[in-house]
């Protein structure tokens, strides 16, 4: 599993930096560097094997059914990229330590950075393509956090959002493409897919898979026309830009192209799509870069251009082009990271990145200037530097490429791009560091601390070293990587040398330099010409697209979800009716064989009451209070019916739920209109009535059919297994806490979440606009005593009794009707009783356990009980039970399910008390304002309108 650790250590290590923020910033930086260093060491330990031609693999099952496994592989390509990611990551960590200001939360920064780093390493080491997509999306998410790190800046937030939309959307396409690719190859393991390239390319799924995968790769690597997000991502702090846009994030797309090269490349479609997209990107990026004034924007568009170049090379379908691409990935990572960091130093020292305001900085900061000069020259492709070598190889490959029978089109356009590249590099370096100093600086810029320029220097060393001695230094790495991409068989011998002789590439290179000199002389004329042309504004187009998508989604959901309850119910009921009718008409039916039982007097009376109450509800539905009373009647009769049909658990639940519901609805009704508006039109009433009657008759017929025949259900099995399997004789409770314990666990979590949502929503109701609406409500005149003495005394006496009842119902629940849920409701009612009788303030002040604590404790206890079975090597929520003999109490059964039931109990109590008491608090707000409208800010006095009856001492109630 050591391979997985390389990705997991940074991911888990992301927790470290935020923990150290109380120490100095250097400690935090070390906390970030340590995991990176550790991962790098583990990687280095694997390197000899990979250089020896071995592919290191590790694999563990994850979700085998969908072909997702936790498998990693390390070959030349993976080693190359992982080394770049971790190595440059280390330099960025050092640089960011000095770059970020005192007010920037540095712990958070390093946490995001490590998350991103781990996800990136995960991409390049994944063996499973679905796992790769998971890491891919993780990089999209973590780069969103990094780009938006300065979340007080609107540009930062917008840039982050744009990057997320584009790369995350591409990630979805990639997922689809990977699934198709897996279908075509018959495996989700890269090592197998890469070996079955022929099969994949012959498959009918090849084209759609290719298009989707390319969409993912092109969005990530900012290829034309998706390049627009990258410059906007420059709102990030410079260390982020240096990291994301030199060696990592944007290289992920290029990596993917290289990774899947053996499976997907080699076809005409690949050549046309990939190389032409790359060529277009290379030209467009270089052209825009030439006219940008922001240093980071120049570098951003230059990055776009260089990414296009790598893409184009990978699209050429030749081994020599793959070598050039791999070599350029290495070179670009070094000089571009160095340039980004230099731009950051300039920004740090002069507080501007506008090239029009800069100049002559070389003499103020010679070290930075020299380093930037070397890196910039490498970007331009000046001989003796590494950028020159890979550019020569690119031109070489371009000279050999033919497009539609023309041998010169690609070569000419590539030369043009090289020309532009020289021009913007020159402008970047000379505009910043040479020429006349153009701004009188408030604080004269000076050389930054070594912490800032040292990482740049570390990167410039390979720029020069590889430029001078390419063969010995970069040769083995490039050969190993390229062999992993193209396969050792398809690869020409790798010869990285400084001097190739007078080749077409050298001629093109010289032409590029000469053309660039000419272009720079004429730059003002060119610029004027450019300004006359139409230039698409990517951000405006993107914003318009997003706005249109949002508006479309709103229209769709608004049309579907009108908020009209009758309409929604009508659709649902009609759908059920249709399904039921289809089932009924599509099958044979016969009357049930069971004897119809005789009807007793009580049953008849209950039936009459039920029908009358329901009919009354329909007639009097506009009077909401009457509706509530009638609903209570229905609830009472339903619980009696449950008893009649031998379901005492259900009856007890129904009885307690009825009470809580009534209180809840009365609380709500107090804030709502007291009558329902009249519905228009007889036709509509008739239609709704017909739907309701049809549904009711259908349900009745169904119930009748089910009850008049014998059939086998799962309950027979449950009843048989209840005692031997769950240790209890109450099958309802055993099902809840044991057989279907996992469902119950999920349900109490949902209950807890619902209660939290109520808490959060109602907390805001006491502030802002909602509170002003409450203030304006002006409750009607109130009369009567708020806390009648008799009620206060009676409920306080009842409290221990009701709690005892709850405890009793809880304890016997496993064997007799009862259990945690019912007991929880009873306990909640007992507590709510105190709120009602003695007032919210009195009861809340005496509550030792806050409802929120109860909910948390309940879910925790249930979860821990479930996990307890892990200790015995059993699956989650396996229950156990035993019988114990206690002195006095006698034979006692203890089941682990009881602890689980305790969790259910606590969650129910907490949720009910929280919901009811919070609504009551909101109402008090409205009430107070009704009494003291003049000054709502003052603590409310006792209501003056209410006549006071009875004694009032603090012992049983503060008027509140």
């Amino acid at each position: 599993m050591t391979l997985a650790l390389i990705a997991l250590i940074p991911l888990l290590g992301a927790c470290l930096p935020p923990l150290t923020t109380r120490s100095s910033r250097t400690v935090t930086a070390w906390a970030a560097a340590a995991p990176t260093l550790l991962a790098l060491l583990i990687l280095a330990a694997q390197a000899p094997a990979v250089f020896g031609g071995e592919v290191v693999r590790t694999s563990a099952e994850w979700v085998p059914r969908i072909g997702l496994s936790f498998s990693f592989m390390l070959d030349g390509l993976g080693l190359f990229f992982a080394g770049l990611i971790l190595g440059i990551g280390l330099l960025i960590i050092a640089y960011a330590r000095h770059y970020l200001g005192r007010r920037d939360p540095i712990g958070r920064f390093y946490a995001y950075l490590l998350l991103f780093q781990g996800a990136m390493v995960g991409i390049v080491l994944s063996d499973n393509i679905l796992l790769l997509v998971v890491f891919w999306e993780l990089t999209s998410l973590s780069s969103f956090l990094l780009i938006g790190y300065w979340n007080h800046l609107p540009e930062g937030r917008q840039g982050a959002r744009m990057a997320l939309v584009v790369t995350g959307g591409g990630g979805l396409a990639l997922l689809a493409g990977m699934l198709l690719l897996g279908q075509a190859a018959g495996s989700h393991e890269l090592s197998e897919i890469l070996a079955r390239g022929e099969e994949v390319r012959a498959s009918p799924l090849y084209m759609p898979a290719l298009l989707l995968v390319l969409l993912g790769a092109f969005t990530k690597s900012a290829q034309f026309p998706f390049h627009f997000w990258l410059p906007h991502a420059m709102a990030a702090p410079t260390p982020v830009s240096a990291y994301l846009h030199s060696a990592t994030m944007v290289k992920a797309g290029v990596f993917l192209l290289a990774r899947l090269w053996p499976a997907l490349a080699g076809t005409d479609a690949w050549f046309v799509l990939v190389s032409l997209t790359g060529l277009a990107t290379m030209l467009v990026g270089a052209w825009i870069a030439l006219f940008k004034d922001d240093l980071k924007a120049i570098l951003a568009y230059s990055t776009v251009s260089h990414l296009g170049m790598m893409t184009m090379l990978l699209g050429f379908n030749t081994g020599i082009a793959v070598i050039a691409a791999v070599f350029h990935i290495l070179n670009h990572a070094t000089f571009k990271a160095a340039l980004f960091m230099s731009a950051g130093i300039v920004d740090h020292e002069t507080h501007t990145r506008d090239i029009r305001k800069l100049g002559g900085l070389y003499w103020l900061m010679p070290v930075t200037g020299t380093l930037a000069l070397i890196a910039g020259a490498s970007m331009a492709g000046v001989p003796l530097l590494n950028g020159f070598l890979s550019k020569e190889m690119m031109l070489d490959a371009a000279a050999e490429a033919t497009l539609a029978g023309n041998g010169w089109v690609v070569a000419t356009l590539a030369t043009l791009a090289a020309l532009l590249s020289v021009a913007y590099s020159a402008r970047f370096v000379f505009g910043t560091f040479f020429g006349r100093p153009r701004t009188a600086f408030e604080h004269p810029p000076h050389e930054p601390p070594p912490g800032l320029w040292l990482p740049v220097a570390v990167l410039v060393v390979p720029v020069v070293a590889i430029g001078l001695l390419p063969g010995p230094l970069a040769g083995p790495i490039v050969e190993m990587t390229a062999a992993a991409v193209a396969g050792p068989a398809g690869l020409p011998p790798v010869k990285l040398t400084l001097w190739h002789g007078i080749t077409p590439a050298l001629v093109m290179s010289v032409a590029a330099f000469a053309g660039a000199a000419l272009l720079l002389l004429l730059i003002h004329h060119v610029e004027r010409a450019r300004l006359r042309l139409w230039r698409p504004e990517a951000k405006a187009m993107f914003d318009a697209t997003v706005a249109a998508a949002v508006a479309g989604a709103r229209r769709l959901s608004g049309g579907l979800h009108t908020g009209s309850l009758p309409r929604d119910l009508g659709v649902i009921v009609l759908a059920i009716l249709a399904v039921g009718l289809a089932g009924f008409l599509g099958a044979t039916h016969a009357p049930g064989a069971r004897e119809v039982q005789p009807t007793g007097i009580p049953a008849l009376a209950a039936w009459v009451i039920l029908v009358a109450a329901c009919a009354g509800l329909a007639v009097a539905h506009r009077n909401r209070l009457l509706t509530l009373i009638l609903t209570s009647v229905v609830g009472l009769i339903v619980s009696l019916a449950f008893l009649q049909f031998s379901a005492p658990d259900l009856a007890m639940t129904q009885i307690s739920v009825e009470v809580v519901t009534t209180i809840l609805l009365l609380l709500a009704l107090n804030l709502l209109p007291k009558t329902t508006p009249a519905e228009p039109g007889t036709a509509r009433k008739l239609r709704d009535g017909a739907i309701a009657a049809a549904a009711g008759l259908g349900a009745a017929a169904l119930a009748f059919a089910a009850m008049t025949r014998d059939f086998e259900t799962i309950s027979t099995y449950h009843i048989e297994q209840s005692k031997p399997g769950g240790g209890g004789t109450n099958v309802v409770n055993v099902i809840l806490v044991d057989f279907r314990g996992f469902d119950t666990f999920g349900e109490i979590i949902v209950l807890g979440i619902a209660a939290l949502a109520i808490h959060a929503l109602l907390a805001t109701a006491l502030r802002g606009a909602a509170a002003r609406r409450l203030d304006a409500m002006r409750m009607g005149e109130v009369s009567g005593d708020a806390h009648p003495l008799m009620l206060v005394v009676a409920t306080r006496v009842l409290l221990p009794l009701a709690l005892t009842l709850a405890a009793y119902i809880f304890l016997r629940g496993h064997n007799q009707p009862g259990g945690g849920f019912i007991a929880g409701l009873i306990a909640a009612i007992a507590l709510i009783m105190q709120y009602m009788a003695s007032g919210h303030a009195w009861a809340a002040a005496r509550a030792r356990l806050q409802p929120l604590t109860m909910i948390g404790a309940g879910v925790l206890i249930a979860g821990l009980t479930g996990m307890g079975s892990w200790a015995f090597g059993r699956p989650f929520l396996t229950s156990t039970f035993g019988y114990f003999h206690l002195p006095i109490a006698g034979e006692v059964e203890l089941a682990s399910a009881m602890a689980f039931d305790l969790g259910v109990f606590l969650t129910v109590v907490g949720a009910v008390v929280l919901a009811l008491s919070h609504i009551a608090r909101v109402e008090q707000r409205a009430e107070r304002s009704g009494h003291a409208p003049e000054d709502a800010a003052l603590p409310p006095g006792p209501p003056t309108a209410a006549p006071r009856i009875g004694l009032r001492t603090p012992a049983y109630g503060r008027e509140d």
Binding site: Q644, L666, L667, H840
Partner: protein, 89 residues
């Protein structure tokens, strides 16, 4: 003997519940209706106990106990609502 008594009692309680229903429908005041509901719940307790005797089972007992212990709270809530609006407070 006890069965006969039970049958008579059941009939009487059922009749009582129907009378509650009448009061609930007739009103005239909301308070009358709440009272009707409360009485109906009390009759329901009696009904449940009688059914328990009739079927010779203990299993109904807790349901009756529960209606007695918590059912009255709905009535209290209705009354507080009618008097003061806010049920809790």
């Amino acid at each position: 003997m006890i069965m006969v008594a039970c049958a008579i009692a059941l009939a009487v309680v059922a009749a009582g519940m129907l009378l509650n229903l009448y009061r609930l429908a007739a009103g005239p005041d909301a308070l009358d209706r709440v009272l009707a509901l409360d009485t109906m719940a009390i009759n329901a307790i009696a009904l449940v106990m009688l059914l328990g005797i009739w079927f010779e089972t203990h299993i109904y007992f807790e349901a009756a106990l529960l209606i007695a212990a918590v059912g009255f709270l709905a009535t209290v809530a209705f009354c507080k609502y009618l008097l003061r609006g806010n049920v809790i407070g």
